[in-house]
C-alpha cells in the first residue's frame, strides 16, 4: 500500500510556509543562530530558533497556555490541511487520524516545572505547567483545534522518529475507513537540551554544521514543525516506508542503514535526502551510501536549518517532495570539498527525477528510511 502526500506545512528557523522556506533554501540561505544562556555557570550555546513572526497568525484559546512546541505543530498542521483542501467537520472528524513525532517534547515547560520543585519545593509545583510537559500535549491541542475524534497517536524517538511515525501512518491507514492521516513532527529548543547534547559531545557551541566532515564537530539544535497530510491518491507517493532498525553500538548503525538502502533502492534512485548533522551518524550514512548507491546525488539540509530532532524527518520528507515537484535541489552548505559523496554542492537541477530516498539516522539508536516517488 502506498500513500500520497496531499498537503504539507512547515515552520522553521527560516520562516514558515512550504514555498517561501523552499525558495530560501534554494538561494543557499542559512538560519541565524541565537545565543542561549542560563543561570548555570557561564555555559552559553547557539541554536536556530523560529522567528516570532512565523507564529503571529495563530490564535486559539486552546493554545493560550501552551508552549511553543504546540504552536509550531498547530501552525504546520493547519497549513498542511489547507494545502490538502481538507476541512475537518463533524462528518469526517472520525475519518482523519493524527500521528505526532516527538523527541524531547515540551522541554521548556518541563524545566520550568521541575525548577520550581527543586528550588522552592513541591508545594510550588504548577498545575498549569504540568499537563504541558506530557508528550502528547501538542497532539491533543491540535486534535482539539481541528475536532479530530478518532485515532491520535504520539510517537517518541530520536531523529528517526518522523519516518517511524510515517511508517505507523501507513499501518494505521490499512484501516480503509480512514481517508486521511496527518503526520506532524515538532520540537522546541531549550538551554537544557543544548547542554545535555553538549555534555554528550554531540553539539558544538556555535555554527556551522559541517556535514560528513572528518572531525565530527557536532550539531546545532533547531526547532519548528513539519506536517504532511497523507491520502490514498496523489502525485507524490510514499512508495515504500521501511520499518527502520535499532543499533546497539554506534558502529552498528552503518550496517542497518545499508540494509535499509538495499531495501529501498530496488528501483532507480535519483537523489537522497540525508540526515547528516555533523555527528557520528554522518559517517554511518556516508559509508552506507557509498556502498549501496554511490551514484545518487545527496542533499543534507541540517547545515541550513539545524537539527530539529523530532521534526527533522518530516522536514526531510517535505524537502524530498519539493525537489521532486520542482526538479531542483538546494546547495549543501559547509561541506568539505574533499568529501567523496556526490553532494549537491550548489543549486542542482534534478529535472526528470522520479524517486528519492529519505534517510533518517538518530543519535539515540534509531534509524529509518523511506522512498518517495513522483507519479
Amino acid at each position: 500500500m502506498s500513500l500520497a502526500i496531499a498537503g504539507m506545512g512547515w515552520v522553521t528557523p527560516l520562516g514558515n510556509c512550504v514555498d517561501p522556506v523552499w525558495k530560501r533554501l534554494l538561494r543557499g540561505d542559512e538560519a541565524s543562530a541565537t545565543p542561549i544562556s542560563e543561570q548555570f555557570g557561564d555555559r552559553s550555546y547557539s541554536a536556530f530558533r523560529v522567528p516570532e513572526s512565523a507564529l503571529t497568525s495563530l490564535a486559539h484559546p486552546r493554545l493560550r497556555r501552551a508552549s511553543v512546541i504546540s504552536r509550531f505543530a498547530a501552525t504546520a498542521g493547519l497549513e498542511a490541511l489547507q494545502a490538502a483542501g481538507v476541512k475537518v467537520d463533524s462528518q469526517n472528524a472520525g475519518r482523519i487520524a493524527l500521528i505526532f513525532a516527538i523527541s524531547n517534547g515540551g522541554v521548556i515547560y518541563t524545566r520550568r516545572f521541575y525548577r520550581d520543585v527543586v528550588e522552592t519545593g513541591a508545594q510550588s509545583a504548577s498545575p498549569l505547567l504540568f499537563p504541558e510537559t506530557v508528550f502528547n500535549a501538542p497532539a491533543s491541542h491540535l486534535a482539539a483545534i481541528l475536532g479530530v475524534t478518532g485515532t491520535t497517536y504520539t510517537v517518541v524517538g530520536d531523529g528517526a522518529v518522523g519516518l517511524l511515525a510515517i511508517k505507523m501512518a501507513e499501518d494505521v491507514m490499512a484501516d480503509m475507513s480512514l481517508d486521511y492521516c496527518m503526520v506532524v513532527g515538532t520540537e522546541e529548543v531549550d538551554w537544557l537540551l543544548c547542554d545535555a547534547y553538549r555534555r554528550w559531545r554531540l553539539l558544538r557551541s556555535a555554527p556551522p554544521i559541517e556535514p560528513f566532515g572528518k572531525q565530527k564537530r557536532g550539531m546545532i539544535l533547531s526547532e519548528g514543525a513539519g506536517a504532511i497530510v497523507l491520502a490514498r491518491e496523489g502525485p507524490i507517493t510514499i512508495e515504500r516506508a521501511h520499518p527502520g532498525g535499532c543499533y546497539g553500538k554506534r558502529g552498528e548503525a552503518e550496517e542497518i542503514l545499508k540494509g535499509i538502502l538495499r531495501d529501498l533502492s530496488q528501483v532507480e534512485i535519483d537523489f537522497v535526502i540525508s540526515s547528516a548533522n555533523g555527528t557520528f551518524i554522518d559517517q554511518a550514512e556516508q559509508g552506507a551510501l557509498e556502498q549501496v548507491i554511490p551514484d545518487a546525488i545527496t542533499y543534507a539540509a541540517k547545515p541550513a536549518l539545524g537539527e530539529s530532532v523530532g521534526a527533522s524527518g518530516l522536514w526531510q520528507v517535505i524537502l524530498g517532495a519539493q525537489a521532486l515537484s520542482y526538479g531542483e535541489l538546494p546547495p549543501v552548505l559547509h561541506a568539505d570539498p574533499a568529501i567523496s559523496l556526490r553532494l549537491a554542492r550548489s543549486r542542482v537541477a534534478v529535472a526528470g527525477a522520479r524517486q528519492t530516498i529519505i534517510l533518517s539516522s538518530g543519535v539515540n539508536q534509531q534509524v529509518a528510511g523511506l522512498r518517495l516517488a513522483l507519479r
Binding site: F40, L98, I102, T110, R111, F113, Y114, R115, V117, V118, E119, A122, Q123, A125, P127, F130, P131, V134, F135, N136, A137, A139, S140, H141, A143, A144, G147, V148, T149, G150, T151, T152, Y153, T154, V155, V156, G157, D158, L164, K167, D171, V172, A174, D175, M176, D195, A196, R199, W200, P243, G244, G245, C246, G248, E252, I256, N364, Q365, Q366, A368
Partner: protein, 409 residues
C-alpha cells in the same frame, strides 16, 4: 465475531493470538506472583521511598523493590548504568520470551509516558548544585523513551527489531497493544511484541500532586469516598502472533485479542468529558471492531483511577453500555503505572480469562450512589470469564479499550 478469513468490506481480517506474556509490577515479578497477589487481594501500595514526598499531599505509591529489580546476578557495568525502567522491561520481556523461545518479532510497539525521567531529574539537580556531572553522559544517554525498549531487545532477543514507542499519556499501554493488534489483524505483520512500561519519577509524582489528582488516603476506585489516585510503576509485555500461524507451529495460545477502540474527546487536557462520551466511544468501537455485543463481555478491567472525574465519566459510560457486568480497577492494589498500566491490566485480564476469576477492586466501602456498577468489591472471586474488556484513558482526552477472549486449550 471476526473469524479467520472473514471480511470487513473487502479486507480479510486475521485472528490475533497472545502467545506469551511477562510482567513486573508492585503485584510481583512474573505471572505467578501477580496471580497470587490478585487472588489474595493484596494491597501493594506503600510509603514512597525513592524521593522526598514531605511537601506532597500524597505519600504513597505502588513500587517495585530495587533489591529484587536491580539485585540480580548481572554485575556488568552496562547493567549498572541502565535505568530502572530498562531493568523492568528486561525482566518482563525475558519472562515472555522464555515461553516462546522461537518468537521472532518483526516489530515492537511499546507505550510509555516518561521514559527515563529520573535520570533527567538527577542531571538537573546536579546542574543546580553545580555538582558532579561526571555521570551526565550516562544519564542523558539512558533518558530517552525508546532506550528501555532497545535495552530489553538487546539483552533478551539479541537482535535488532524496529520499535515504535507510543506516548499517549495514561492510555499508552492499551494504545500500543491495540495498534499492535491492528498490525497483525490487517495481515501486514505476523508477529509483534507489545506492552508498556513506566518507572516512578519525582517530576511526575509532583505533577499529579500539584493537580490534586493524587490522594493522601487509600486508592478507592468507584467508591463514594474516593479522593484520588496513587501512582505506580512496572512493565508488561505481550507477544502477539497470527493465530493460525501460531497454531501451525505449535505455539501456546494464551488468549485472543479480538477488538480495539480508540477515541479522542477534546474536552480538556487533564479532565474527561463528564458525559463519558470519550470512554463510551472507545468501548463501543472495541465492541464493533470485535463484532460482538456488550452482553458477551464477562469482566471489565476499568481505568478506574479513583479520581472524582475519571470514575464518574467512566462509570457513566460503562453503565450506559453494559448491564451489570463485573467491574474492577486493579489500580486499587498497585497504583496507576501510567504508560505501563494498560499493558499490566491486559496481563491481569489475561490471567482472569485463563484462571477463571474476577480480580478485586480493594479499599472499597460503598458505591458512589451516582453510579450503577457491579464492582468486584475487596475480594477476588471465581467466575466464568470468556471475554474481558480493558480500559485506559489519558490526558489530552485520549481513550482506548481492548477486548481479550479466552481460548480453550
Amino acid at each position: 465475531m471476526a473469524q479467520l478469513g472473514s471480511t470487513t468490506g473487502e479486507k480479510t481480517l486475521e485472528r490475533v493470538a497472545v502467545v506469551a506474556a511477562g510482567v513486573v509490577s508492585p503485584l510481583g515479578f512474573g505471572l505467578a506472583e501477580t496471580l497470587d497477589s490478585l487472588r489474595r487481594a493484596k494491597d501493594c501500595v506503600t510509603a514512597v521511598t525513592r524521593f522526598s514526598v514531605a511537601e506532597c499531599r500524597c505519600k504513597t505509591a505502588g513500587q517495585i523493590p530495587d533489591d529484587r529489580l536491580l539485585g540480580g546476578p548481572d554485575k556488568r557495568l552496562r547493567a549498572k548504568r541502565l535505568h530502572r525502567a530498562s531493568h523492568m522491561m528486561i525482566q518482563a520481556l525475558r519472562e515472555a520470551v522464555m515461553q516462546v523461545p522461537q518468537f521472532e518479532p518483526e516489530l515492537t510497539i511499546i507505550g510509555t509516558t516518561s521514559g527515563g525521567m529520573s535520570y533527567g531529574e538527577q542531571y538537573y539537580r546536579s546542574l543546580c548544585r553545580s555538582g558532579n556531572l561526571r555521570h551526565a553522559p550516562t544519564w542523558i544517554a539512558n533518558y530517552p523513551a525508546q532506550k528501555p525498549v532497545i535495552d530489553a531487545q538487546e539483552e533478551v532477543l539479541s537482535v535488532s527489531v524496529p520499535c515504535q514507542v507510543i506516548a499517549n499519556a495514561c492510555a499508552s499501554g492499551t494504545n500500543a497493544i491495540g495498534h499492535a493488534f491492528e498490525c497483525v489483524r490487517s495481515g501486514r505483520y505476523q508477529r509483534v511484541l507489545t506492552g508498556g512500561y513506566d518507572a516512578l519519577s519525582e517530576l511526575v509524582f509532583t505533577g499529579f500532586d500539584s493537580l490534586q489528582a493524587s490522594t493522601p488516603e487509600k486508592c478507592r476506585p468507584f467508591d463514594r469516598h474516593r479522593a484520588g489516585m496513587v501512582l505506580g510503576e512496572g512493565a508488561a509485555i505481550l507477544a502477539l502472533e497470527n493465530l493460525e500461524l501460531a497454531r501451525k507451529r505449535g505455539a501456546p495460545v494464551l488468549a485472543e485479542i479480538v477488538g480495539y477502540g480508540i477515541s479522542t474527546d477534546n474536552f480538556h487536557i487533564t479532565q474527561p468529558d463528564p458525559s463519558g462520551v470519550g470512554p463510551r466511544q472507545a468501548m463501543e468501537r472495541a465492541l464493533k471492531s470485535a463484532e460482538i455485543s456488550a452482553g458477551e463481555v464477562d469482566y471489565i478491567n476499568a481505568h478506574g483511577t479513583a479520581t472524582v472525574f475519571n470514575d464518574a465519566a467512566e462509570g457513566k459510560a460503562i453503565s450506559q453500555l453494559f448491564n451489570g457486568v463485573p467491574v474492577s480497577s486493579t489500580k486499587s492494589m498497585m497504583g496507576h503505572s501510567l504508560g505501563a498500566a494498560g499493558a499490566i491490566e491486559a496481563v491481569i485480564s489475561l490471567l482472569a480469562l485463563r484462571h477463571q476469576f474476577l480480580p478485586p477492586n480493594i479499599n472499597f466501602d460503598a458505591l458512589d450512589d451516582r453510579l450503577d456498577l457491579n464492582v468486584v468489591a475487596n475480594e477476588s472471586r471465581p467466575a466464568v470469564v470468556r471475554m474481558a474488556l480493558s480500559n485506559s484513558f489519558g490526558f489530552g482526552g485520549t481513550n482506548a479499550s481492548i477486548l481479550i477472549r479466552r481460548v480453550e486449550a
